[in-house]
Assembly symmetry: C2
Homo-oligomer: 201 residues x 2
């Protein structure tokens, strides 16, 4: 027997994100489904100009597909010395169908003449929660610095080159638990968690 | 007998904020002290240029005073049609020692020629948590629109003129519980709450 009276869909196809989300959102009354529970999920074109736009585009597409409350996130890295690049293009900075390594390599290349005290950046995650009553947004921000080289082998994406001065580590040197406690996605998920707890009582 | 093994100071002198914080942060193992529990608290000059700077300035000042883990927030309203004003000057938009009514009246006056579809704004709250290991920041953002007139009598500050399309209400028309669920400060506190729960287990 289960206590879980409600179901909410985590609208992401990224297996790394799914792991972080499941680890984080252990809610007493809410079962979190993932897209792994559905078949024939279409590709969704993320053509928004902001994280918020893209999160909504994904949430809306999945909501229309499954018709239960859904959330989707869009996230990325904004580097101050690159005027906020790669931003919404974080996943395809080096082109379509590239690897995390390609993106990281390009970013370090673009930053090679940038001095230590000018390497500040922020990781941003915006979650859009959508149900029949409309949308709610939750944005998590974590500030850090771009390293000069790769450090650590945990996580994914830009994690090996995003350094947190207060931890003395890159994202890729943190355990999933540590990362969830201080990461941009953890901060967005924290807001979603409390929101869901209060909404589905 | 109490389960509360830890103590954290909520570093604010604003009684409205204290009520919202106490209502929100009911943590099993952490007692939240407020500045009401201390005497001779000095005025702190909030001369930072960002919410983050000001939150840190306050957290640091209170931390040096009481020497226990502390958090402080800085928050404000950014109106797109006014290029982000009043921003960090939200509390003193109409001058020093002004009332909420003065600030609201000035803002509506400045917005009187701005059409309905250009009245977007965001409320931002940044919390700085500080202990001997350093600082962590939690930012909550809620998007809305500036009304043409006052609506509602709950809350404080710009609440009567900040309208949430998805709720069909201004902040000042929400109960404290509703407001905490979707407000900028609620979102920042949600992050702090989960952070503290994980940190002080």
């Amino acid at each position: 027997m289960t206590n879980k009276k409600y179901t909410v869909l985590a609208g992401t196809q990224n297996q790394h994100k799914i792991l972080e989300i499941i680890d984080f959102l252990n809610l007493e009354k809410i079962e979190i489904k993932t897209l792994n529970d559905y078949k024939n999920i279409p590709e969704i074109e993320e053509n928004g100009h902001t994280f918020k736009d893209n999160a909504y585009i994904k949430a809306k597409a999945y909501y229309e597909l499954v018709n239960i409350p859904v959330f989707a996130d869009d996230s990325g890295l904004r580097v101050d010395a690159l005027n906020g690049e790669p931003g919404v293009y974080s996943a395809r900075f080096a082109g379509d169908d590239v690897s995390y390594l390609d993106n990281n390599t390009l970013l370090l290349e673009k930053m090679k003449d940038v001095t230590q005290n000018q390497r500040s950046a922020e990781f941003v995650s915006t979650i859009c929660y959508l149900d029949k009553n409309g949308a709610h947004y939750f944005t998590g921000i974590t500030n850090g610095e771009i390293t000069n080289d790769f450090r650590g082998d945990q996580g994914f994406g830009y994690d090996p080159i995003f350094y947190l001065p207060e931890s003395g580590k890159t994202y890729a040197e943190l355990s999933m638990e540590e990362k969830n406690r201080i990461s941009h996605r953890g901060k967005a998920l924290a807001q979603l968690k409390i929101f869901l707890e209060k909404k589905f009582q």
